[in-house]
Each structure stands twice: as structure tokens, then as C-alpha cells.
Symmetry: C2
Subunit: 344 residues, 2 copies
């Protein structure tokens, strides 16, 4: 044969680079394994034991397709954030959602603003749709809100990317600064607020979620704080019409059934309250009777904890900051106590 099917001009012009070389590729090249796998901001602590158990339980169900609507996971995520399921879209990690956002808002030649040195995979997906990247330098190891804003205005960018807390610098902006930034953005510019590390930073860095605003997409993931990078599952929270627009182009069967169920087990799980003390009060996600059963289950497993008894407060259990080996025992016994309380 002398000829071959031509790529589209857009794809043909793309470089053959990939955003990240995985540790596995490096190990294959070095010929031996790394002794410490601490380069990709994974959680070596692993997923919650309850989630591991749930994944093992459902392995035999993998003959069934995933629910293309990700319905149950969206409901769990929505409840977690106090929004509706119509405000949530689930994707193959934040990466998968970034690819869709690029296709939704960026036509060939459009300017897209990000920080110089910020997430390369965002840049990869912008290049993939023919967008023109405009980069703004970091200032004092933080992304420059004023710089991003100025670049958006100057280049009439339909899309701007901001990671908070930031990767790779680990820095963050406080919520009030972000709100000022969001309010100053042109209404026709979409902000991707990548909060992959949102659960790990100070709560004061997370602005309240406002699903009435059509130009902000908040992105979260199960990869970091939840220790589930391998399941490839992230989600975006936004105004309902924005979420509906994802439906037009997403891979409806992209997120595995395993990921959906692991995500539900995680998202609907326990929720520690912020603590300024030497104990952590944990919302068990049910009523007082449920939390009491959890407490009793732990006691019967020789784990001593207490709980508040006054209604509303009584949905919680209370755990002191103990020695590592004590907290290990707590982590070991909690899934069984929870399963028993749930009647499983």
C-alpha cells in the first residue's frame, strides 16, 4: 500500500508527547522496582478497609455493565456536598472530565488560561482540541489569581484552570480570595476549579459550593484523600445545565461498575467533623440509634470509644487521638462494627 488514512489536521499537528511517565514505565526501564512509591501523590495508606471489602465482595458482579447514568454514585456524592444529583457528573478521573471540558468550551484557536507549571494533563487535553494555551507565572509559589484574571480578560479566554490546593506546589488560596476571583471573572469564562486535593487542605480553602453559578466547575476525585487512584473515578459539581451538557459527548459507559460501587462506599461513609481537640467526632451518617449500634459493635470488639447522647449530636461517635497501634485496631474493627450495625 502506498497511502494511509490521514489524521485530521488537528490531530496530525499534535506532538507525540504524553503528560506523565508512570512509575511502571520507569521501573521497566531501570530493570528493578522502586523501593518507595511516593511520586504520584497516591495514598500509600490505601483505601478504607470497608471499601476494600466491598470491592472484593462485588468482583463476581463484574459481568454486568456499569450504570451509564452513575446514578447511585451521583446521589451519594450529591448528598455529601448538599447538592442534587443533577449537579454532579462522574468521569474516568478528573483527567477524563478535563478532556470533556476542553471539547465543550474550546474551539480551535481559542485562548485557554492556566499557570505556567500547573497540571500538564490539562494542557494535553487543551492541545487535543486545538486550544491555544496562555500561561501565567506562579507568584510566591502560588498561582497568581490577579495574573490569571488579567490573562483571561486580555485574551478573552472561554476557559481558565485553577488548582486549589495547588499541585505541584502544595500551596492554597483561602475561600474568600477565591470568591473574589470568581466574582471578578467574565460571566462567559468557565473556571475549572480542580480540587483534587480539596479534602486534604484546610477547610477554609474550600468556598461553599454554589450551583446557581454557571461558570464554575468544581472537580473532585477518589484518587487522593480516598486512596482509590487505581479505580479511575472523579466527579464534577456544577450548575445543572452545565452538567447536562457533559451528556452530549461523554463516554456514558466509561466508569467501571467497580469504581461506582467503591465510590458509593466511600462517599456515603463516615465523616469526621473538624476538630480543634485531642479527639475526633465522627458522623456515622445515620441517626442516634445507628451510631449507638456502631458504638456497641466496637465495644463488643474490645474497642472503647464514647458517643454524644443528645439528639442531633447523637448521630456521631467520638474517638480519642490514641497511639498508632490503638488507631490501627480501631480501623481494623470499624468495618465489622459498621456492617453489623447496618444488618449486613
Amino acid at each position: 500500500m502506498c497511502q494511509r488514512p490521514p489524521l485530521t489536521p488537528l490531530v496530525d499537528a499534535l506532538p507525540s508527547t504524553v503528560p506523565f511517565v508512570g512509575p511502571e514505565a520507569q521501573e521497566r526501564e531501570r530493570g528493578h522496582a522502586f523501593r518507595a512509591r511516593i511520586g504520584a501523590n497516591e495514598s500509600s495508606f490505601g483505601p478504607s478497609p470497608r471499601v476494600i471489602e466491598r470491592m472484593a465482595e462485588i468482583a463476581g458482579d463484574m459481568w454486568m455493565y456499569c450504570d451509564p447514568d452513575n446514578h447511585d454514585l451521583k446521589v451519594a456524592v450529591a448528598a455529601h456536598h448538599g447538592v442534587k444529583a443533577e449537579n454532579v457528573v462522574v468521569g474516568e478521573g478528573i483527567d477524563g472530565l478535563l478532556s470533556l471540558v476542553a471539547r465543550m468550551y474550546v474551539a480551535p484557536g481559542d485562548a485557554v488560561v492556566t499557570s505556567l507549571g500547573a497540571y500538564p494533563t490539562f494542557n494535553f487535553h487543551i492541545a487535543g482540541v486545538g486550544g491555544r494555551l496562555v500561561t501565567v507565572p506562579y507568584e510566591n509559589d502560588r498561582e497568581s489569581l490577579d495574573g490569571l484574571l488579567a490573562a483571561v480578560r486580555k485574551d478573552k479566554a472561554p476557559l481558565v484552570y485553577l488548582s486549589n490546593p495547588d499541585n505541584p506546589m502544595g500551596s492554597w488560596w483561602e475561600a474568600n480570595e477565591l470568591i473574589r476571583f470568581i466574582e471578578a471573572l467574565p460571566e462567559t469564562t468557565m473556571l475549572v476549579l480542580d480540587e483534587a486535593y480539596g479534602e486534604l487542605g484546610p477547610a477554609s480553602a474550600l468556598p461553599p459550593i454554589d450551583i446557581s453559578r454557571p461558570n464554575v466547575i468544581r472537580m473532585r476525585t477518589f484518587s487522593k484523600a480516598y486512596g482509590l487512584a487505581g479505580i479511575r473515578c472523579g466527579y464534577a459539581v456544577a450548575e445543572a445545565q452545565v452538567i447536562r451538557d457533559f451528556e452530549k459527548i461523554r463516554n456514558h459507559y466509561g466508569v467501571s461498575r467497580m469504581a461506582q460501587i467503591a465510590g458509593i462506599a466511600e462517599a456515603s461513609g463516615l465523616k469526621p467533623l473538624e476538630s480543634a481537640t485531642n479527639f475526633v467526632t465522627i458522623d456515622c451518617g445515620g441517626d442516634g440509634a445507628f451510631a449507638l449500634k456502631v458504638l456497641q459493635g466496637l465495644l463488643s470488639r474490645d474497642v472503647f470509644i464514647r458517643k454524644p447522647m443528645v439528639p442531633v449530636l447523637d448521630r456521631c461517635i467520638r474517638v480519642s487521638v490514641g497511639l498508632d497501634h490503638e488507631l490501627d485496631i480501631f480501623a481494623e474493627e470499624l468495618p465489622g462494627a459498621l456492617a453489623a450495625a447496618r444488618g449486613n
Copy 2:
């Protein structure tokens, strides 16, 4: 706010339809569960017990990202098909790969040929890049090879879709007819040969894989014959440059670690030879000594089978067509015998 970020003209013009409504959505609407889930060509027989066991084993490893190269799975798939890893790309099901193919070969306004009534998700992804669908009616419940060819030529289509065996009709073309079709295609037209059901039809329907030809992409999946629809994993086999071109736009972290490992467990598994008899000869994927260990392991589990002893043939075990309950026992005991033979 009075304005909102505009979608690109392409995405804005797309209808808000989705290719398939899942059974879960129908169940939510009906308010009760289906009694038989037999509408999505899933395999109710489930994945192999060995694969289920492997998935349960690795649940705790899900804190690690997937290998973005899908290296080990590509190697296993390549060995299975007698090609190189450079001829394989892995994606989030065939659906995920179809989306990429659309972006790679179809510019807005380009004609794309398929059969009227063929896979709707292909059409969805073509619409997603602004392609213009040209459809050819079925003839005698089969896709019309001559009709597709005529349409490709008439509309100078850069891309044509053919499913073999066909979904939704279950019909198929023999390999020699397909080869004639492929050889008659313009060199600049890419053929997506969707073989999602390839392992389930007659072997005579599968042309030999020719990775020297740059205008054919063969697509396979773990969803159907392997009973792993829920893990979202498919792959394409093609000429090396075609495979490299996928790298430019794919979601490198799209396929879960669980899917990669389940796929390896499946792809590197046993391979029954075609049989015209009342027994099935099974290639154990190793040498004679390995197959002998598998046989001995089965005998020690009170399962009587035999094996050929002459070198080359001796890589196999031989199993008679027994009663259902006997084959059940065989299926139950095989994973243990294999694991023992492998020294696990």
C-alpha cells in the same frame, strides 16, 4: 448573572440524546427490578472464577494509579493474538476507543459510513466530532459489504464502521468475504472492524490479523465472551503507527488498575482449540511440563481428563464434552489446579 460560558458551536448543536438507556434507569422508573437481565448482551455466566479471585485479591492495591501505558495487559493481549505490544491500544471499552477514532479521522463535515441500525454509540461519537453519517441498509439481516463500499467511494468517507459478528442481528460474514471487502477499500479510508462478539462466533468469521495494513483497526472487548462488562476494558489491534496516533489524544489514565489486571488474568488464560469432535483440546499457554502439572492437579482433585504427550501438542489438555454437572466441577477445580501449576 445574565450570561453563561457558551459551548463550542459543534457541541452546542448536538442533541441531548444518549445512545442507550441502561437497565438500572429503567428499573428506577418502573420502581422494581427486572427478573431477567438479558438485554445488553452481558454474560450472565460471569467472569472466570480465577479472574474473580484475582480482582478480590488486588482490591487493596487500588490506591495505586493504573499503569498509563497499560503495558502488561498489552503484552498479554499481543501474545494472545500473535502481534507485538506496539500493535495494541487499550481503552475504556470499545466505546472509549470509538470516541478516539472519531476524533482522529473525522473532521467536521466529513462523511462517515455505517449501516442503518448498527451500533448507536458509534453514531453518537461521530456526531460528537461533527461528522456526517451516511447509512446503508442491511440486506438479508446482514450488513451490506457492497453497499458500504459503494457509500465509502461515493462520499469519499475517511471512516467506515463494520461489526462482525453483527450487533443487533447476530449475523456474520466469513473471513474471505471480509478480506475481499478490506482489499477493495480505498487506502485512505479507515475501517473500524468491531469484533466485540468475535470470540463467540465461528472462527471462520475472523480474518487473520494483518498489522501491516494501516487502514484496519480491529476492536475487541472483555465485556462479552469474558463476562467483564463492568470493568470497562476493550482494546484495538492495528498497525503500529495507527496505535501511536491514539497516544496523542487518549486519556492515559482512563482504564482502571482493576481492569488491567483482570484483563491480564483473562487474556493470558487458557485457549481452547477449535473442535470438530466431542472433546475440547485446551492450550494451557505454557510447555508440556506445565500442562502436565495442570493435568495432575485436576486428577488430584478427582477430575479425570487426558492430555496429548507428543511435544508441541503436549502444551494442551483434553477435556471431553461431559454432562453439565461434570463441566461445572471441571470449572470449579481448574483455577486451583492452574494456580498450583503456576506455583502460586
